[in-house]
Protein backbone atom coordinates (compact mmCIF):
# COMPACT_ATOMS: atom_id res chain seq x y z
CA UNK A 1 0.00 0.00 0.00
CA UNK A 2 1.37 3.37 -1.00
CA UNK A 3 1.33 6.79 0.59
CA UNK A 4 2.58 9.34 -1.93
CA UNK A 5 5.52 7.59 -3.62
CA UNK A 6 6.42 5.27 -0.72
CA UNK A 7 5.30 1.64 -0.50
CA UNK A 8 4.43 0.40 2.99
CA UNK A 9 4.16 -3.21 4.08
CA UNK A 10 2.71 -2.40 7.49
CA UNK A 11 -0.64 -0.65 7.75
CA UNK A 12 0.02 0.34 11.36
CA UNK A 13 1.45 3.79 12.04
CA UNK A 14 2.69 4.59 15.52
CA UNK A 15 2.84 7.71 17.62
CA UNK A 16 5.85 7.96 19.90
CA UNK A 17 4.40 10.06 22.74
CA UNK A 18 3.54 9.13 26.33
CA UNK A 19 5.88 6.13 26.67
CA UNK A 20 7.47 5.71 30.09
CA UNK A 21 10.95 5.70 28.53
CA UNK A 22 12.71 6.04 25.21
CA UNK A 23 13.81 2.42 25.38
CA UNK A 24 10.21 1.23 25.83
CA UNK A 25 9.10 3.43 22.95
CA UNK A 26 11.71 2.03 20.57
CA UNK A 27 10.99 -1.56 21.66
CA UNK A 28 7.28 -0.97 21.03
CA UNK A 29 8.00 0.54 17.62
CA UNK A 30 9.98 -2.57 16.71
CA UNK A 31 7.32 -4.94 18.08
CA UNK A 32 4.59 -3.18 16.11
CA UNK A 33 6.29 -3.74 12.76
CA UNK A 34 5.47 -0.15 11.82
CA UNK A 35 7.45 1.66 9.16
CA UNK A 36 6.22 5.19 9.89
CA UNK A 37 6.27 6.94 13.28
CA UNK A 38 5.19 10.39 14.35
CA UNK A 39 7.24 12.93 16.27
CA UNK A 40 6.57 16.48 17.46
CA UNK A 41 8.59 19.70 17.41
CA UNK A 42 8.95 21.70 20.62
CA UNK A 43 10.88 24.78 21.77
CA UNK A 44 13.71 23.66 23.98
CA UNK A 45 14.58 24.97 27.38
CA UNK A 46 18.20 26.10 26.81
CA UNK A 47 19.10 25.19 30.38
CA UNK A 48 17.68 21.66 30.29
CA UNK A 49 18.99 18.46 28.72
CA UNK A 50 16.64 15.87 27.26
CA UNK A 51 17.18 12.47 25.70
CA UNK A 52 17.44 12.51 21.90
CA UNK A 53 14.75 10.53 20.08
CA UNK A 54 15.98 10.86 16.53
CA UNK A 55 18.96 8.49 16.49
CA UNK A 56 17.26 5.48 18.13
CA UNK A 57 14.33 5.75 15.73
CA UNK A 58 16.62 6.10 12.72
CA UNK A 59 18.50 3.04 13.95
CA UNK A 60 15.19 1.18 14.14
CA UNK A 61 14.86 1.81 10.40
CA UNK A 62 11.52 3.62 10.48
CA UNK A 63 10.51 6.67 8.47
CA UNK A 64 9.87 9.80 10.52
CA UNK A 65 6.62 11.71 10.26
CA UNK A 66 6.91 15.00 12.17
CA UNK A 67 3.65 16.58 13.23
CA UNK A 68 2.55 20.16 13.77
CA UNK A 69 0.90 19.56 17.13
CA UNK A 70 0.67 22.73 19.14
CA UNK A 71 -0.18 24.79 16.06
CA UNK A 72 -3.29 26.89 16.60
CA UNK A 73 -3.75 28.15 13.05
CA UNK A 74 -2.48 27.61 9.51
CA UNK A 75 0.38 30.09 9.92
CA UNK A 76 1.72 28.25 12.99
CA UNK A 77 1.39 24.91 11.22
CA UNK A 78 3.26 26.06 8.12
CA UNK A 79 6.07 27.39 10.30
CA UNK A 80 6.19 24.11 12.25
CA UNK A 81 6.28 22.12 9.02
CA UNK A 82 9.22 24.16 7.73
CA UNK A 83 11.06 23.70 11.03
CA UNK A 84 10.44 19.97 10.91
CA UNK A 85 11.77 19.83 7.36
CA UNK A 86 14.92 21.67 8.46
CA UNK A 87 15.40 19.32 11.42
CA UNK A 88 14.72 16.02 9.69
CA UNK A 89 15.19 16.59 5.98
CA UNK A 90 11.79 15.01 5.32
CA UNK A 91 9.01 16.81 3.47
CA UNK A 92 6.37 14.54 5.02
CA UNK A 93 4.21 16.28 7.59
CA UNK A 94 1.30 15.22 9.76
CA UNK A 95 -0.78 18.36 9.85
CA UNK A 96 -2.48 18.97 13.19
CA UNK A 97 -4.17 22.26 14.06
CA UNK A 98 -6.16 22.33 17.24
CA UNK A 99 -6.85 25.73 18.75
CA UNK A 100 -8.83 24.29 21.64
CA UNK A 101 -6.57 22.66 24.25
CA UNK A 102 -9.46 20.96 26.09
CA UNK A 103 -10.85 18.71 23.36
CA UNK A 104 -8.01 19.07 20.80
CA UNK A 105 -10.55 19.11 17.98
CA UNK A 106 -8.90 19.82 14.62
CA UNK A 107 -9.78 23.18 13.07
CA UNK A 108 -11.24 22.33 9.64
CA UNK A 109 -10.86 25.76 8.06
CA UNK A 110 -7.25 26.29 9.11
CA UNK A 111 -6.42 22.67 8.20
CA UNK A 112 -7.69 23.18 4.66
CA UNK A 113 -5.81 26.50 4.33
CA UNK A 114 -2.58 24.95 5.61
CA UNK A 115 -2.95 21.90 3.35
CA UNK A 116 -3.29 24.10 0.28
CA UNK A 117 -0.21 26.11 1.24
CA UNK A 118 1.96 23.14 2.26
CA UNK A 119 1.17 21.19 -0.90
CA UNK A 120 2.34 24.21 -2.92
CA UNK A 121 5.56 24.19 -0.86
CA UNK A 122 6.21 20.57 -1.83
CA UNK A 123 5.15 18.82 1.36
CA UNK A 124 3.52 15.40 1.53
CA UNK A 125 0.60 16.45 3.71
CA UNK A 126 -1.20 14.04 6.03
CA UNK A 127 -3.97 16.10 7.64
CA UNK A 128 -5.58 15.10 10.93
CA UNK A 129 -9.26 15.97 10.68
CA UNK A 130 -12.68 15.35 12.11
CA UNK A 131 -14.54 12.49 10.44
CA UNK A 132 -16.22 14.87 8.02
CA UNK A 133 -16.75 13.41 4.53
CA UNK A 134 -17.11 16.87 2.93
CA UNK A 135 -13.85 18.09 4.41
CA UNK A 136 -12.13 14.85 3.39
CA UNK A 137 -13.03 15.54 -0.24
CA UNK A 138 -11.87 19.14 0.01
CA UNK A 139 -8.53 18.08 1.50
CA UNK A 140 -8.07 15.45 -1.18
CA UNK A 141 -8.82 18.05 -3.88
CA UNK A 142 -6.25 20.34 -2.25
CA UNK A 143 -3.61 17.66 -2.75
CA UNK A 144 -3.34 15.92 0.61
CA UNK A 145 -1.59 12.56 0.40
CA UNK A 146 -4.07 10.90 2.76
CA UNK A 147 -6.98 11.88 4.95
CA UNK A 148 -6.80 11.14 8.67
CA UNK A 149 -10.23 11.18 10.32
CA UNK A 150 -10.39 10.81 14.08
CA UNK A 151 -12.15 7.80 15.59
CA UNK A 152 -12.67 9.59 18.92
CA UNK A 153 -10.96 12.45 20.79
CA UNK A 154 -7.14 12.24 20.94
CA UNK A 155 -5.87 10.01 23.70
CA UNK A 156 -9.35 8.92 24.79
CA UNK A 157 -9.06 5.21 23.86
CA UNK A 158 -12.80 5.40 23.15
CA UNK A 159 -12.73 3.47 19.89
CA UNK A 160 -14.62 3.95 16.64
CA UNK A 161 -17.17 6.56 17.73
CA UNK A 162 -17.28 8.10 14.25
CA UNK A 163 -17.71 4.83 12.40
CA UNK A 164 -20.64 5.89 10.15
CA UNK A 165 -18.77 8.94 8.90
CA UNK A 166 -15.53 7.06 8.36
CA UNK A 167 -17.48 4.63 6.16
CA UNK A 168 -18.64 7.57 4.01
CA UNK A 169 -15.07 8.86 3.78
CA UNK A 170 -13.79 5.45 2.68
CA UNK A 171 -16.52 5.19 0.04
CA UNK A 172 -15.56 8.53 -1.51
CA UNK A 173 -11.79 8.65 -1.02
CA UNK A 174 -9.24 8.42 -3.80
CA UNK A 175 -6.35 8.72 -1.33
CA UNK A 176 -5.54 6.38 1.55
CA UNK A 177 -7.70 6.74 4.65
CA UNK A 178 -5.78 6.66 7.94
CA UNK A 179 -7.87 6.44 11.10
CA UNK A 180 -6.10 8.50 13.72
CA UNK A 181 -6.89 9.25 17.36
CA UNK A 182 -9.12 7.40 19.75
CA UNK A 183 -8.29 3.83 18.77
CA UNK A 184 -8.23 2.16 22.19
CA UNK A 185 -7.96 -1.57 21.64
CA UNK A 186 -6.64 -3.98 19.02
CA UNK A 187 -10.27 -4.89 18.27
CA UNK A 188 -10.95 -1.22 17.38
CA UNK A 189 -8.06 -1.31 14.93
CA UNK A 190 -9.31 -4.60 13.52
CA UNK A 191 -12.81 -3.19 13.04
CA UNK A 192 -11.40 -0.17 11.24
CA UNK A 193 -9.40 -2.41 8.92
CA UNK A 194 -12.44 -4.65 8.32
CA UNK A 195 -14.33 -1.53 7.18
CA UNK A 196 -11.70 -0.89 4.53
CA UNK A 197 -9.56 1.74 6.19
CA UNK A 198 -6.07 1.70 4.67
CA UNK A 199 -4.00 2.45 7.79
CA UNK A 200 -4.53 3.11 11.48
CA UNK A 201 -2.37 5.34 13.67
CA UNK A 202 -2.11 4.30 17.31
CA UNK A 203 -0.27 5.90 20.22
CA UNK A 204 -2.00 6.16 23.59
CA UNK A 205 -3.51 2.66 23.51
CA UNK A 206 -0.02 1.19 23.23
CA UNK A 207 1.93 3.68 25.35
CA UNK A 208 -0.55 3.48 28.23
CA UNK A 209 -0.84 -0.31 28.21
CA UNK A 210 0.56 -2.27 31.15
CA UNK A 211 2.91 -3.96 28.69
CA UNK A 212 3.36 -1.61 25.70
CA UNK A 213 5.66 -3.94 23.76
CA UNK A 214 3.18 -6.81 23.93
CA UNK A 215 0.30 -4.46 23.10
CA UNK A 216 2.21 -3.19 20.05
CA UNK A 217 2.52 -6.75 18.80
CA UNK A 218 -1.23 -7.29 19.43
CA UNK A 219 -2.05 -4.21 17.34
CA UNK A 220 0.14 -5.48 14.54
CA UNK A 221 -1.75 -8.78 14.48
CA UNK A 222 -5.12 -7.04 14.68
CA UNK A 223 -4.32 -4.76 11.75
CA UNK A 224 -3.13 -7.67 9.60
CA UNK A 225 -6.18 -9.79 10.48
CA UNK A 226 -8.62 -6.94 9.94
CA UNK A 227 -7.17 -6.21 6.52
CA UNK A 228 -7.27 -9.88 5.55
CA UNK A 229 -10.93 -10.04 6.60
CA UNK A 230 -11.71 -6.97 4.49
CA UNK A 231 -9.98 -8.51 1.48
CA UNK A 232 -11.85 -11.81 2.07
CA UNK A 233 -15.15 -9.91 1.86
CA UNK A 234 -17.36 -9.80 4.93
CA UNK A 235 -20.69 -11.61 4.83
CA UNK A 236 -23.88 -9.59 4.48
CA UNK A 237 -25.47 -8.45 7.75
CA UNK A 238 -29.14 -9.21 8.28
CA UNK A 239 -31.41 -7.19 10.57
CA UNK A 240 -34.75 -8.35 11.91
CA UNK A 241 -35.68 -11.95 11.10
CA UNK A 242 -33.10 -14.69 11.42
CA UNK A 243 -31.63 -16.29 8.32
CA UNK A 244 -31.09 -20.01 8.78
CA UNK A 245 -27.65 -21.47 8.18
CA UNK A 246 -29.04 -25.02 7.88
CA UNK A 247 -31.71 -26.41 5.51
CA UNK A 248 -35.20 -25.42 6.66
CA UNK A 249 -36.82 -28.86 6.93
CA UNK A 250 -38.09 -30.52 10.07
CA UNK A 251 -35.47 -32.84 11.52
CA UNK A 252 -37.29 -36.12 10.78
CA UNK A 253 -39.71 -34.80 8.17
CA UNK A 254 -39.75 -35.10 4.42
CA UNK A 255 -36.77 -33.82 2.51
CA UNK A 256 -37.11 -30.44 0.83
Amino acid sequence: MKIADREFHSRLLLGTGKFASGELMVASVKASGTELVTLAMRRINPNEKTDPVLTPLQQAGVQLLPNTSGARDAEDAIFAAKLARAATGTNWIKLEIHPDPRYLMPDPIETLKATEALVKLGFVVMPYMHADPVLAKRLEEAGSAVVMPLAAPIGSNNGLRTRDFIEMIIEQANVPVVVDAGIGKPSDAMQAMEMGVDFVLVNTAIASAHNPVQMAACFQEAVVTGRRAFEAGLGVQSFGAAVASSPLTSFLGASA
Binding site: G17, R43, I44, P46, A86, I154
Partner: protein
Amino acid sequence: MNILVNDVSKELPENASLQQAMALLALQTEGAAVAVNREIIHPQGWAEFILNENDELVVFKLVAGG
Protein backbone atom coordinates in the same frame (compact mmCIF):
# COMPACT_ATOMS: atom_id res chain seq x y z
CA MET B 1 27.14 40.44 22.64
CA ASN B 2 23.77 39.56 24.04
CA ILE B 3 21.19 37.41 22.26
CA LEU B 4 17.94 35.80 23.29
CA VAL B 5 17.60 32.02 23.08
CA ASN B 6 14.02 30.94 23.58
CA ASP B 7 13.45 34.11 25.62
CA VAL B 8 16.51 33.45 27.82
CA SER B 9 19.30 36.04 27.64
CA LYS B 10 22.73 34.62 26.67
CA GLU B 11 26.19 36.15 26.18
CA LEU B 12 28.21 35.25 23.10
CA PRO B 13 31.47 36.56 21.58
CA GLU B 14 31.13 39.15 18.82
CA ASN B 15 30.66 37.72 15.32
CA ALA B 16 29.80 34.26 16.59
CA SER B 17 28.26 32.03 13.97
CA LEU B 18 25.07 30.13 14.65
CA GLN B 19 27.05 26.90 14.72
CA GLN B 20 29.45 28.36 17.30
CA ALA B 21 26.51 29.58 19.34
CA MET B 22 24.96 26.11 19.42
CA ALA B 23 28.28 24.67 20.61
CA LEU B 24 29.08 27.42 23.13
CA LEU B 25 25.61 27.23 24.64
CA ALA B 26 25.79 23.40 24.68
CA LEU B 27 22.55 23.14 22.74
CA GLN B 28 21.75 19.75 21.31
CA THR B 29 21.96 19.86 17.52
CA GLU B 30 20.55 16.42 16.73
CA GLY B 31 17.01 16.86 15.45
CA ALA B 32 17.19 20.60 16.12
CA ALA B 33 15.84 23.44 14.01
CA VAL B 34 16.65 27.09 14.58
CA ALA B 35 14.91 30.28 13.59
CA VAL B 36 16.72 33.61 13.93
CA ASN B 37 14.33 36.53 14.10
CA ARG B 38 11.68 34.03 12.85
CA GLU B 39 13.68 33.10 9.73
CA ILE B 40 14.49 29.38 9.65
CA ILE B 41 18.20 28.73 9.12
CA HIS B 42 18.95 25.34 7.59
CA PRO B 43 21.58 23.31 9.49
CA GLN B 44 23.85 23.40 6.41
CA GLY B 45 23.93 27.19 6.74
CA TRP B 46 24.67 27.44 10.48
CA ALA B 47 28.44 27.78 10.06
CA GLU B 48 28.13 30.79 7.73
CA PHE B 49 25.32 32.51 9.57
CA ILE B 50 26.79 35.27 11.76
CA LEU B 51 24.70 36.42 14.70
CA ASN B 52 24.17 40.03 15.68
CA GLU B 53 23.52 41.80 18.98
CA ASN B 54 19.92 41.32 20.18
CA ASP B 55 19.14 38.55 17.70
CA GLU B 56 16.30 36.37 18.85
CA LEU B 57 16.92 32.67 18.42
CA VAL B 58 14.17 30.15 18.74
CA VAL B 59 15.49 26.62 18.99
CA PHE B 60 13.22 23.66 18.47
CA LYS B 61 13.91 19.99 18.69
CA LEU B 62 12.18 16.77 17.79
CA VAL B 63 10.45 15.15 20.72
CA ALA B 64 8.28 12.09 21.09
CA GLY B 65 4.71 12.80 20.05
CA GLY B 66 1.59 11.31 18.52
